[in-house]
Symmetry: C2
Subunit: 685 residues, 2 copies
């Protein structure tokens, strides 16, 4: 073993020791934080004598919830609990006062009361929804101690801040098989999200079996769609977890896949094909023909029976109107009906669709664009452009939810998502108006995810969004606490079968053919995917592009880089601890020396060859960081010429290479900025 490798891995351990400190005792590792909690004394021990009993209102869903709770508890502890129901004296009493609605409704009571003492646990709720939430709270509290697996004594009174807390999953661009859907629902339950918004049609695929219009799936899906039986099974699975399923069929744009089987729906002349590229495309439904509305009435009729939820999402985003411009018949229609532009034409379309949806006894939901003068007040607006549009919608009398700020496909930090609030940073609504703000939804658009890596985009950051939507705003201002709890919850989510932690090392292994390629891990740990929409501008991607490279494997947010930046911030603020200096130095040595270990590995695989310059770059950046620390630590002036040259190099290093961002470069730039420039050439002393 070389010394280099020793120091390399040494610092991997260093990153371990720098893991966020556990939250203070008063703050339990819960996410979302409950509305109210009062610590008790002692702890409740879980062993194979554990017994739980359901009291009050009974239903099969509660029995299944109990069974699922025991299974999860068994996975968390390794203690077989299957026999408890018949043999053990109950210590955990669940009291359900009454039923919830046959189809889960928007404003149901989700509150629960959970009291844990060393001897007994009492969970009480008005209906099964509160019970489901309370059981998840209990599971989050389980920990290993010198006395075995325990939960601390505590009394919790909890209910959500917003009634609509969701995740949108785009299965149009990359189809997601049922096992992804199921485990995603398991994760939503764990963090008390209650809406699964299923984005089911796109230019790249139509994903639902229609019995009335079978060419939708037969010609528009490559065979990758859900049967109606599968849809019903997902809805049942979601209901078991206190989650509503809101379907979205995007129209009039984002609809190419419909037109492969039914070209008459479209405004152009075709022929149409399943779109293989990413972006915004021209095909759009023809809003001027009655046959379009006849088709959609029948289709929506079929789908509103299949999906029992009261809300029905019709998309409405990003219709570029080019097919409308190019179609003389449509232009003539607009003239005849005094429709002044494409926005107005879409408003006309939306109005007709809204009537169809309402005719099927559903409430229509759409993206920002559907809000136009005259939009009926019961239409729910999902804002993807900003919280100010939420305010605008509710001031106008509609209800709205926020997705801007919750775009988990864009590789932003958990802190950024956590900062986005449905009421805005400066609430612009008051009283009755603010009741129109229903909540929000994380959105998982799927250009750059596969079943293999999608969990790493959804989790754990969605848990931070879940907290924003559930917990009182005033008790969730502490970002370090959020990160500390997020790390714990992320680990707990492994027990729900989520793969966000396991996919990364598995993909590194595949890239190299090595079981555990540590130097590649060290490198990847300080890289991030490009943010916002930059990725598509850096390289061509389409439906067939393998997503099996470094950018696809690493988490969207580098915990290591964030922790390093925290240290750097303490250093440049002039208040570092002694261990900050040491830790910064050790990490920089690690990253500098990693390159020599990594290069031979990189050259062996087509998937990693493109990382060769990036690894060399990390080596140089780290050396600059070490030099800067040298100047700072010894209070020497850095030569002005050195500063200028390094800052220029660092600026370049902050640009994406191999579709990756070096997340150490900005922190090192801060270090160099903090050095005092020498006006004369450095003396060398």
């Amino acid at each position: 073993m070389t010394l280099l490798l020793s120091s390399l891995i040494g610092a991997v351990a260093g990153s371990q020791t720098q893991a966020p400190a556990p939250p203070a005792q008063a703050v339990l590792p819960l996410m979302p934080l409950p509305a109210q909690m009062k610590p008790g004394t002692g702890e409740f021990i879980i062993n194979n004598g554990f017994g739980i009993v359901l009291q009050g209102f009974q239903e099969p869903r509660l029995e299944r919830a109990k069974r699922r709770f025991l299974n999860t508890l068994s996975r968390q502890t390794g203690i077989p609990l299957w026999r408890e129901a018949s043999l053990n004296k109950p210590q955990f009493f669940v009291q359900t006062k009454g039923p919830s609605a046959p189809v889960q409704r928007l404003e149901e009571d989700e509150s629960y009361h959970l009291q844990i003492t060393p001897d007994e646990v009492h969970l009480e709720a008005a209906n099964p929804l509160g019970v489901l939430h309370g059981l998840q709270t209990f599971l989050q509290l389980v920990r290993i101690t010198p006395h075995g697996f325990t939960v601390p004594a505590v009394t919790i009174d909890d209910q959500p801040r917003f009634p609509w807390r969701g995740l949108m999953l785009d299965v149009g661009r990359h189809f997601m098989p049922l096992d992804v859907v199921y485990r995603t629902l398991d994760g939503l339950e764990a963090v008390k999200l209650n809406v699964f918004h299923w984005h089911l049609s796109e230019d790249q695929g139509f994903r639902v079996e229609s019995k009335r219009f079978p060419l939708l799936q037969e010609k528009g899906s490559d065979g990758l769609y859900y049967t109606q039986e599968e849809i019903r099974s997902v809805i049942e699975y979601a209901r078991d977890r206190g989650i509503r399923v809101v379907p979205e069929f995007d129209m009039p744009g984002h609809a190419s896949a419909w037109f492969v089987g039914y070209p008459d729906l479209a405004s152009g002349t075709g022929p149409y094909h399943i779109e293989r590229d990413w972006g915004i495309f021209n095909p759009a439904m023809d809003p001027t023909r009655e046959s379009t509305y006849k088709f959609l009435d029948t289709f929506i009729g079929e789908m509103t029976v299949l999906f029992p939820d009261a809300y029905f999402h019709i998309g409405g985003d990003e219709c570029n109107g080019k097919e409308w411009d190019a179609n003389p018949r449509i232009q003539q229609f607009m003239k005849a009906h005094a429709i002044k532009d494409n926005a107005a034409l879409q408003a006309y379309f939306t109005g007709r669709i809204q009537k169809i949806v309402a005719g099927h006894k559903k409430i229509m939901e759409g993206w920002d664009e559907v809000l136009q003068p005259g939009t009926p007040k019961d239409v729910v607006i999902q804002s993807w452009r900003g919280s100010e549009f939420v305010g605008q919608a509710v001031r106008g009398g509609n209800r709205a939810l926020l997705s801007a700020g919750y775009y988990i496909d864009l590789n932003q930090s958990a802190a950024e998502h956590y900062a986005a609030d449905p009421e805005g940073n400066e609430p612009t609504t008051v009283g009755e108006e603010s009741k129109g703000i229903l909540g929000g939804e994380a959105t998982m658009w799927s250009e750059y995810v596969t079943p293999e890596n999608i969990d790493s985009r959804i989790w754990p950051r969605t848990a931070a969004i879940a907290e924003r939507l559930w917990s009182p705003r005033k008790i969730t201002q502490d970002v370090p606490s959020m990160y500390a709890r997020l790390a714990i919850i992320s680990q707990k989510l492994d027990d729900y079968g989520l793969e966000h932690n396991s996919s990364y090392p598995a993909m590194l292994s595949r890239m190299t053919g090595e079981p555990d390629p540590l130097p590649l891990r060290v490198f990847g740990d300080v890289m991030q995917p490009p943010r916002q929409y930059a990725r598509g501008e850096l390289r061509h991607y389409d439906s067939f592009t393998p997503l099996n490279r470094m950018v696809d494997s690493i988490p969207p947010e580098s915990d290591t880089a964030r922790q390093f930046l925290d240290i750097v911030n303490r250093i440049v603020s002039g208040k570092p601890a002694q261990e900050d200096w040491e830790q910064a130095q050790e990490w920089l040595v690690l990253w500098r020396d990693n390159n020599a270990q990594l290069q031979p590995l990189l050259s062996r695989s087509e998937l990693t060859q493109e990382l060769i310059p990036m690894s060399t770059n990390l080596h140089h950046v780290s050396q600059i960081g070490l030099d800067a620390i040298g100047y700072l630590r010894e209070h020497h002036n850095a030569p002005a010429e050195w500063r200028t040259r390094q800052l220029a190099f660092l600026k370049t290093s902050e640009q994406p290479q191999a579709v990756l961002l070096n997340m150490i470069a900005p922190a090192v730039e801060k270090l160099v900025q903090a050095t005092t420039p020498a006006t004369t050439p450095a003396s060398g002393s």
Copy 2:
């Protein structure tokens, strides 16, 4: 970060660099090795233009095999291959000459011919069974290179040495849910095993739904059993993978669970209960009452319809006869029929059962004990006592298979299993006789496994057994080659969803509450579970005991300890390389210093507190090793008193503690033994 931690993890990396070298170029990383292979020139590249076509005989099973092959290839490469069938020009041609039997038979042709060139792949086989094997061979050859994912050009002609190559799974003692069964079948297919022997009844549980005798599962299973529909689905799943399903219902002993619902079957007075302990129990079927045979005729009739395989296993092992001794009616029967002892009574019972089984057109199989004078020649004997009993059976005209030596629950090394041969080390059969040796089966008894850790007991060692049963004996004598290929195959099996590699770190994490408790991993990497039947003697275990401690988490064989022992052997043989000295020293320093890191972690969890003395012990053992290396390296004499004291300490350290074996102690003992004793007190120079 402390230096200690640095060195600690440094040596973890050391264990990486000491991973077994890849096999020589001539030996491809295949397991089992093919009967014949001839390297070609160049390599075949897999990209998303990959196309495969089935030619010749067609059936839905082959279509499913193709789909499954593409899914596995996609997982191996991260390249989406779902569209290939419709869009790509085929490069991989599969030629199937004809069908295989409607129900897979014992002696079907499993051979295949696989030719890989840079441009094309040709797979030919007489029937779908050979195709299935050839596809798996191809998948094992996939690797990442500078040109992307490729397989090397090669021509392979392959067929198995033995026709019966199996794994027995005991689902009686610990029930294994369907997902375990399915992924186990996936693993069997990957290594060309073709029999899934399903041990379905035990004292601790009856695991099949009987419609004729529903109290079997209702009272005998705790609700943990397979419905007939599930059984049929497993059989279909196995058939798709070229695997026969042979059911076993153990009788007359190991049958307590039957008697809970049907006490009249038993020889005692009851009452009977599902057994919760491990061991051999008294309850046994009553061989003297006609009602027993009437029941079993009906039951076997039902089960032989459910399980289409030609063979039916009736167990027959370990009946202690105590209920027979205690029952005056049975004693009287024996006297009346001149049955001289319990073995003869069991032979009478077996004879009756054989006629029932034959009456249902099945061939009976049983453990060693069913072979008695007069046993019909078509009965297949499964030997758990030794290969000499296989020889004895076939010389007597029966057919037989070997399980002695393949008991994968007993924590032996892959090399030990690899050394066991169905023909024995010195074949004792010739000509026609030796044709009676059908092959062998690994046996997974389930006292100490759960769905969580069972994969780590089955895999990867079962792949070595699969090679022993498939590959020509003469080309599989090289144990280092076996271990080198085993490591590669083990990693590949991850792509089949097997959890043998992932369960260990997950269980360490649960034990400690830490995401990645490296010092515990360093410790665990040199520990092994007690071997053979020692575990049950060290501590009380029963059905309810949580299997969530260190002994349950670690693999049965320590790769690190094996590699360390290899180094030690080179040192004591007097032919070490310079790097052997260094590696041994670095590892010993790691293990010595690990204790200081590990102790605080161990004390925090009830599950690890018992490891505190064991970790201290590893510290001392490692220091002794370092001292011994000091003497050896500098050609000093070790003080006699020192040697005596250390050897005594090491002997103690080789005893199990906390139900664990310290696998470093025996190697360090070798080092100390190799030091030259000083006859006078050491001078200190």
